[in-house]
Assembly symmetry: C2
Homo-oligomer: 188 residues x 2
DNA sequence: CACATATGTAGACGGTGACTACATTGGTGC
DNA sequence: GCACCAATGTAGTCACCGTCTACATATGTG
């Protein structure tokens, strides 16, 4: 039989199809019914796996954070602080370039959300680690500033207002600006 | 007669009602029909003034940029560069705090848009002026970095991930970081 | 192998954007 | 003045969407 009654991995298929739809046609085009048709199930089948459309978006965003985090972690091994920061920032910018609408979704889902918010917390914690934040002292403004700068660059990239060929230049300038403050913080 | 056939200023009323709806209930709650009802016209009347829902959002975003720009211009008169930068950044952060969803809308409408994109261009030009950019030489990465940093902070503020009581601290740190690079650029 | 549960289907309902045809108004040229 | 026309608002309609409910089928556990 070509299409068994039970799909088998409908949840994953919906997440993947949703991700594709998001990246290709934008978040507005992402409808539960459209995804259902695309995956080959009835129009209400997605509701068995996601309470509503927002829950699906939340799950897609959570997966996006996981993906972003795994790319950012490529910076952890590098020896110098500058190299780590640069690699971290470049990975973030690259993600924005390749998955703009997804990044936009990830940062538009505010706190109070579900799974995405947990993943977001890990993302912010990762930035803190990069800056040498420790639990035994108060965190300064730097983690926020790092996150803001990267997210801002990502937003400009995703919206196309920052030309692709100038991304590296801006990222490098950002790192050069952040570095002194981070070094001061680390040596204190 | 209480309700004349012609509203008289329907376009403005829709913009204002749309702005209120956006700020109070979020962009998802903003529907043409809801606005029409709220303003007291028939469900299809808004289409006489806006081609579609996106056109309305675009117009609201354009008005938002005009508003933001007028607040940012309060920094132009200050004497020291640091004071100008600080005032500029604080005004931006305050706007994010008071009109988060509007700011989010303004920066989610990518280029290729209509009226909003013109206003956005003036916004970016204003940042360039603050940094002493001139038409007679190529612009460096600084204008982008300034815009990215402020937009990133604004996004964190609007989403609630940056606690309100820490906004000033982060803004000041951002200014302190940007300042040396800007001074170097200006004196060259 | 019975039966509870998870998963998928089919139909319905109200809300929404957008299109069309029609009604009313205000301004312009004569 | 006034005939005409473009601008503005109305009413009806259609397809699409999210979501709910009742029902069908598969799965796995005692």
């Amino acid at each position: 039989m070509p299409t068994p009654y039970h799909h088998g991995s409908l949840r994953d298929s919906l997440l993947e199809a949703g991700r594709r739809q998001l990246l290709e046609e934008g978040v507005a085009s992402l409808t539960l019914r459209g995804l259902a048709k695309r995956v080959g199930v009835s129009h209400s089948a997605p509701l068995r796996h996601f309470d509503d459309r927002d829950a699906l978006l939340d799950a897609i965003a959570a997966a996006g954070f996981a993906e972003l985090i795994s790319e950012l972690e490529s910076a952890a091994g590098l020896s110098s602080l500058r190299a780590r920061l640069t690699q971290y920032a470049r990975a973030h910018a690259r993600f924005a370039l390749e998955s703009g609408p997804l990044l936009e979704l990830m940062f538009s889902v505010g706190p109070g959300g579900g799974a995405a918010e947990e993943s977001a917390a890990r993302f912010f914690a990762l930035g803190g680690e990069l800056l040498g934040e420790r639990a035994d002292r108060e965190s300064g403004p730097l983690p926020y500033l790092l996150a803001a700068t990267l997210e801002g660059i990502g937003s400009l990239v995703a919206s196309g207002r920052l030309p692709v060929e100038r991304v590296d230049e801006v990222v490098d300038e950002a790192v050069s600006m952040l570095l002194p403050a981070v070094e001061a913080r680390l040596s204190s």
